[in-house]
Amino acid sequence: MRSNDMNQTLVNIFFILASAACIFPFLLLFIASFSSEQSIIANGYSLFPSEFSLEAYKYLWSNFDSIGRSYGITVLITAVGTSAGLFISALLAYPLSRTDMPLKNTLSFIVFFTMLFNGGLVPTYLIYTEVFHIKNTLWALIIPGLLTNGFFILLIRTFFRNSIPKEIIESAYIDGASEFKIFFRIVMPLSLPILATIGLMLGIGYWNDWFNGLIYITDSKLFSLQNLLNRMLQNIQFLQQTNLDGRGQTANLPTNGVRMAMAVIGIVPILLLYPFFQKFFVKGLTIGAVKG
């Protein structure tokens, strides 16, 4: 058993190193956001800054208008998008899961075919902007690409098929309940696990989305948090590349520490909620993995 103990130690050492490698960038981010600008310019981003300071966060606070606004936008679209997406997905998955549903194979094919073939960015963009005119509206952050997809519907349908006994539905029929009543009063309450899993994936998708904002939004009043972060990141690079004269530090140009602080506030909610939803997420992925 001695070799077994040594194996254990080695394995644990490997994971401690791997974990450290995974966490290191985050640590750097955090500590840099609390470093003074002087210390960053002098010594670069470091785990051990020469000087701590809250100036980055003070700058963010002074910009509360735009940052608070983008936070609000992100929270709004996450809440609305997740609930609407869950509702629509479950509503679509339910008839497909019923064995007595006519045309269910054709309908299922129509739904799942979307996972195989894709129109691509150009048609999607043109349709949303030229036909539906959602450019620079909140709809652009909620609807395109994120509301639901074949994969989520597949997972929910599988859950309905495997975990909702036919007998329950049949006996509800006999009792004279309508389809909608059955769906909302019986099926939904029984489906909390899958709803939580899909809801989580939807929520993270919306929280992290920057792409829709990138292509559909130019009005700064509608920037989501990630979108704002994105613009700031790109802005710096653009300025560095075009090599401005010594007047690089304009009043609006976020400094190094501020960039890090912005990123920190972008991930703090996820980090805070992580312990709570981590179990669900892993479980959901495992179920999804078994399906293939």
């Binding site: 194996n7 310019i41 509503l91 339910y94 979307t114 639901t148 560095q240 890090m260 990123a263």
Partner: protein, 309 residues
């Protein structure tokens, strides 16, 4: 004839509630997925906003001519396939290795802790990843240039203007981001292996390494093959976020970081060249679809249950 139609109507009416439930989702899928599919025809048109999409002229394969005459088509195709190919191989090998090791950790709460940490990068957005990489690779202040390189006596490198480093950088970032997620999937498969195999092997005196080689890997093969084939089916689609955000959309890096997805994006949004971007997008959708069909067919031939359809 009338008798059948009446039957159809009766069935539909009986299930009207269920059909009604389908409506919101189907409408969304129609707008979000099917309309764009029909919109692929844009690649064969010369879009004129004054005339609108529907009335613009058909110009046949002209857009494709432009696309393939320029060297762009080869470059973005090569980049996309090479990167994705490396990602598939490297990520698979590493994920299996980590999953096997994770399975070996005796204290389960430790295993869960490690898994949580490894999963964390997967949950943050690519924009944040862009910031993290910036903290490391920034020319004046980055951790690499200020701390690591000086420790080896190397001069600072201008990372964001030198294309040759980026295949490595992007591969590492992609691995860092996805290992936690892949690991969970393979771990689920490993946990499903009957422990009796291992017990019998231990009795026969096999070492851990031998057990891994003769039990774990062969029994994982179905999962590995499925996942790999599915990934190959998607080899024409790159992770837009990775290739756009992390290099900070830097021009000089494009020879090695431009993939089909970023090319389509830049052509459409930045240059407003609908012709080139729609042709490239069509090219991607078509080849991607064929690859998905072929790879799924192969999966189906191997093991019918595992296929997507």
């Amino acid at each position: 004839m009338a008798h059948t139609w009446r039957k159809v109507w009766k069935t539909f009416w009986r299930y009207k509630a269920l059909f009604l439930m389908l409506v919101p989702g189907m409408v969304y899928l129609f707008i979000n997925n099917y309309m764009p599919m029909f919109g692929l025809t844009i690649a064969f048109k010369d879009i004129n906003y004054a005339k609108g999409i529907w009335r613009s002229d058909w110009i046949g394969l002209k857009n494709f001519e432009f696309l393939f005459i320029s060297k762009d088509a080869w470059r973005i195709t090569r980049n996309t396939i090479l990167y994705n190919g490396v990602f598939i191989v490297l990520n698979t090998v590493m994920a299996i290795g980590v999953a096997i090791l994770l399975n070996e950790v005796r204290k389960k709460f430790l295993a869960r802790f490690y898994q949580s940490v490894l999963l964390l990068p997967y949950l943050i957005s690519m924009v944040i990843v862009g910031y993290l990489v910036l903290a490391l690779l920034n020319l004046e202040n980055g951790f690499m240039n200020k701390v690591i390189l000086p420790a080896f006596g190397i001069d600072p490198i201008s990372w964001y203007t030198k294309p040759e480093y980026w295949p490595y950088i992007l591969t590492i970032v992609n691995l860092w981001k996805n290992i936690g997620y892949l690991c969970i999937i393979y771990l689920a498969a490993i946990v499903g292996i009957d422990p009796e195999y291992y017990e019998a092997a231990t009795i026969d005196g096999a070492t851990k390494w031998q057990q891994i080689r003769s039990i774990t890997v062969p029994l994982l093969m179905p999962t590995i093959i499925i996942l790999t084939l599915l990934a190959i089916g998607r080899i024409f689609y790159a992770d837009f976020g990775l290739f756009y955000q992390v290099p900070l959309n830097s021009g000089p890096l494009q020879p090695t970081t431009d993939v089909i997805d970023t090319y389509v994006y830049r052509a459409l949004i930045t240059l407003g060249d609908i012709g080139m971007s729609s042709a490239a997008g069509f090219y991607q959708s078509l080849v991607g679809f064929v690859l998905v069909l072929v790879s799924n067919l192969i999966v189906r031939l191997k093991d019918k249950d595992q296929a997507l359809f």
